[in-house]
């Protein structure tokens, strides 16, 4: 017995002592040691983790055939069979780096991405937009504080890198928005129709964008609507200008939601207190309603969103061609917008995005010459003959767009699809001596394909092409798009983009001639971006070549040309100053173009050489209040008077000049008293803002009389704009938004 026990003890002890020592070195493809690789003798407790030099060692008492596995989240798994027999083993390995969405570069040339996709490249989100002083929660106004955009105050739209407002297009969930702004009033910029809170993601691309988007020569604003709301809620808002109310219902299983909002804007009271330069004989009134539903499918979501707007206004200004008459302009607008989208994951790494949209916009515009007692006057000679008119116009757009995406190995993917638009634009124009009835119809179709090619985590390429055909001009085009990104260091990368972009002539050009071709722009962009926590720095240089721009004189043709080049800087920093978030943008732009009735290639009147913005935000926890300021600066823009002279049958520059520099400082503040009252049923936000606090004189350009003898500056309708409002919500604790601003 004793003997036996002894033998057993010896056996066990031997068993314990008889170990195999395993050592090794682990490196990557480039021969660099990899730390943190977990080495495991499979199905045993034995193993180790590689150190900073890539070395590891451990011992095991196991015997016989086993497998050693090496794992690390950034590398492909690696396994080696081994035989253990007390002989020391050396197992070295070279691991292959995995494609990693978090580590891999993305192409950033040309675009600013906003929203909470897991990347740190986020630039602006919806709260940022709402709290950008001077923006008054208008997406476009906030985007104007980013590099590339001009400070144009007398016309709506984003004027990007020497492009007109029409060269920037907005897309919601993939489909084009035909009338993103309220119908323009001469020399007054109107707001966008959509609230920033509708969107979870915003990409502001100032060039070189994807083949999935077309018909925008300069820029694309790509908006992605929110999915399911967080919970059911009701909202209300009241201010001297606007009253709003809304409901949002989320089903118990969180698979279905619906909502509706209504707002009414009336400026009577405001215009009585803050005097406006124009004489408003019909005070601006806006009725807006919207409704939505969202359905979660198995692996996807269906979203529907609709808005209806009605607005009405009339204003009178002195007529530039006389001392006594006035121009009376009035508009009644109806707009209905519908967007239905379906995003769905399919089998085997396929995904699809289906988008459908229908919108109709109806304008009823009357322009009248009135005498000093506001009575209509009619004339049968120039220049007034064309100043008495009535225009009824309608713009309908029906679209369908389907995109398929297939994930390939690693992060690579292909995307392809097509879209079809049917545009219907009837209009009736009546003036004293003529009558134009027009009905433009266009069938536009496009096919596109694009692929993301990840060569390594450090190098990515995006190759795409787009084919388009428009029936109204009976022309097709093929637009290639190429971009690349290369990681140069931790959080730093260089991107480049090249692309050709086409846009159909505008409706008001096609009315005169359909014998026109696409206008064309070619973009070359190079960008460096460094992105660390709470700080983004980027610098971008671009060259854009315009061709085939539409000339309106002597005939409608595509002989226009132009170019734009420049350098832009952007810095956003939430880190350096405690509790202060700020960003700085600077754009240098050198551009000339010959289009419309320009007599030669000239600096266009919407482009400033230097533009800069500083946006600062601070939330003071103690006061439960936030303070925001924006300062925008732009050097003067050129202005011209093109005068037609009969003998030569051409336009010449009768007068030109440059406006004074543009300066504007906006200020806004929000007070959130119910912050932190966890059980508060009502959540309150008080908001106040002033645009152009310092009352700096802003001259956007000049209007000239018919004979060129009288010249009048284009000014804002009032020096400053004030807004105060109180917003309430029940159900959703919006305080979190404010808390988060501060954390």
């Amino acid at each position: 017995m004793k003997k036996f026990l002894l033998a057993a003890t010896i056996f066990f002890t031997n068993h314990v002592i008889a170990q195999t020592k395993i050592t090794g070195h682990i490196k990557d493809n480039k021969g660099k040691p990899i730390a943190g690789v977990s080495i495991t003798l499979k199905d045993t407790y034995d193993g180790a983790v590689s150190d900073s030099l890539g070395n590891y060692n451990f011992s095991t008492t196991e015997k016989g055939s086993h497998v050693i596995s090496m794992t690390n989240i950034n590398y492909d798994d690696y396994e080696v069979p081994v035989t253990l027999d007390n002989t020391p083993l050396t197992i070295n390995a070279t691991l292959k780096e995995k494609f990693n969405e978090l580590k891999a570069v993305t192409v950033t040339a040309g675009s600013f991405e906003a929203g909470d996709n897991k990347r740190a490249a986020t630039v602006l989100n919806s709260i940022d937009i709402a709290t950008t002083a001077g923006s008054n929660a208008d997406i476009t106004a906030a985007l104007k504080t980013l590099p590339g955009a001009q400070q144009v105050g007398n016309s709506e739209g984003l004027f990007v890198r020497g492009g007109t407002g029409e060269e920037t297009k907005q897309f919601i969930d993939g489909t084009l928005v035909n009338n993103p702004y309220f119908t323009s009033v001469p020399d007054i910029a109107t707001r966008g129709r959509f609230s920033p809170f509708l969107f979870k993601g915003t990409v502001f691309s100032t060039g070189g964008y994807s083949a999935l988007y077309g018909q925008a020569l300069s820029s694309a604003v790509i908006l992605e609507s929110i999915d399911m709301p967080e919970r059911s809620s009701a909202t209300a808002g009241i201010s001297p200008i606007v009253a709003t109310g809304g409901l949002q219902e989320l089903s118990k299983n969180k698979k279905f939601s619906w909502g509706a909002d209504y707002s009414y804007v009336n400026l009577v009271a405001y215009f009585n207190i803050v005097k406006q330069t124009p004489d408003y004989f019909k005070m601006p009134q806006f009725h807006s309603g919207d409704a939505n539903f969202r359905i979660k499918t198995n692996g996807g979501i269906i979203k529907y969103y609709t808005t209806f707007d009605y607005n009405n206004l009339g204003l009178r200004r002195p007529d530039i061609d006389s001392m006594i008459y006035k121009d009376a302009f009035s508009i009644i607008n109806h707009n209905w917008y519908n967007n239905l989208s379906w995003r769905q994951s399919l089998n085997n790494g396929w995904r699809m995005n289906l988008g459908m949209s229908y919108s109709t916009n109806r304008d009823n515009i009357t322009q009248q010459i009135q005498d000093s007692s506001n009575q209509p006057k009619t004339f049968n000679y120039q220049p007034w003959v064309s100043k008495n008119f009535h225009l009824k116009s309608r713009q309908d757009l029906t679209q369908i767009k389907e995109v398929f995406e297939k994930k390939l190995g690693g992060l690579s993917a292909i995307r392809f699809g097509g879209e079809y638009w049917y545009g219907y634009n009837p209009s009736t124009y009546i003036n004293t001596d003529s009558n134009f009835v027009n009905s433009l119809k266009d069938n536009y179709a496009a096919l596109f394909a694009e692929s993301d090619v990840y060569v390594t985590n450090e190098l990515a390429l995006k190759l795409g092409a787009r084919y388009e055909y428009s029936s109204i001009i009976k022309k097709a085009n093929i637009a290639p798009r190429i971009s690349a990104a290369y990681k140069v260091g931790e959080g730093a990368q260089i991107s480049a983009a090249y692309g050709v972009f086409y846009e159909k002539p505008l409706v008001n050009e096609l009315i005169y001639s359909t014998q026109l071709g696409y206008t064309k722009a070619t973009h070359y962009i190079i960008n460096y971006q460094r992105n660390t926590n709470d700080r983004i720095f980027r610098v971008e240089a671009f060259y854009k070549k315009y061709a085939d721009l539409v000339k309106t004189f002597p005939t409608y043709n595509n002989d226009g040309t132009g170019y734009a080049k420049g350098v832009e800087l952007f810095l956003r920093d939430k880190k350096t100053f405690k509790n202060i978030d700020y960003w700085i943008s600077y754009s240098y732009l050198d551009t000339k173009r010959d289009f419309q009735n320009y007599p030669a290639e000239l600096e266009p009147n919407f482009a400033a050489k230097h533009t800069a913005s500083l946006v600062v935000k601070k939330f003071v926890t103690k006061w439960k209040a936030g303070f925001n300021a924006t300062y925008s600066f732009a050097t003067g823009r050129p202005y011209y008077d093109f005068l037609y002279n009969y003998p030569d049958n051409k336009y010449s520059i009768a007068d030109k000049g440059r406006t004074p520099n543009y300066n504007s400082m906006g200020f806004s503040a929000e007070y959130v008293p119910s912050i932190g009252k966890q059980n508060a049923k009502t959540f309150i936000v008080l908001f106040a803002s002033v645009n152009n606090v310092l009352g700096q004189k802003q001259i956007y350009g000049y209007n000239y009389s018919y004979d060129g003898m009288n010249k009048q500056p284009i000014l804002p309708t009032a020096t400053r704009f004030y807004f105060i409002g109180c917003f309430l919500s029940w159900g959703i604790d919006r305080s979190q938004d404010a808390i988060n601003n501060n954390l």
């Binding site: 495991t40 199905d43 983790v49 580590k103």
Partner: protein, 226 residues
Amino acid sequence: MKKLLFIAAIVSSVAAYSQSDKYMNAMKQSLSLFDSAKNAADLENAAASFQRIGDAEKTQWLPYYWEGLVLATEGWKYYPDPKGVTEIKVSDLSGTMTALAGRINAALDKADAIATDDSAKSEILTIRNMAATQQMLVDPQSRYMTFGAQANEDLQKAMQLNPNNPRAYYLQGMGIFGTPEQFGGGKEKAKPIFQKAVDLGSAEQQKPLYPHWGLDMSKAMLAACQ
């Protein structure tokens, strides 16, 4: 023959004992690795060690639970401690935290698939709460609605499954303690919650290898609330 049977019985019982003893010892060794960890590399070692035990055993939830906790402990090192010192600084916090949370949740998924009782699931959820909180802290402003809500949901579920889990109360207290008074946080509000964590922690029966952490920390936080 009798003798032989007796010996055989001893040998087999020794072997049987040694198997569970081996697990016990390996776990204890890993726990001491965790206890003595001074930096991220030490924590990675401890986490790998727990993972190996879990992978070999296949029927134990505790190794994966501890792996999750070790990795979550590493996660806190990317954020400033109460003295404002950040132990590990990275330029891509967002990517780092997403990757780490992915590993924590992968370990916890395995633990959760094995664990059967509510109190074990409650412990697992407290670690999920940490992973979600750490992801939220990357950019609280835009992530509160997603990761903040997730963290809160994890904690609520943890308390539901085991109302006597002191660690759930400790974590809840930490969240409230870190929120400014104006936003509904602060010492006053955190105090009763830490008190509850201390009471529950003091009454807790310690089972070998089972989570028992948090009592000292709750006491320290309670003192800080005075």
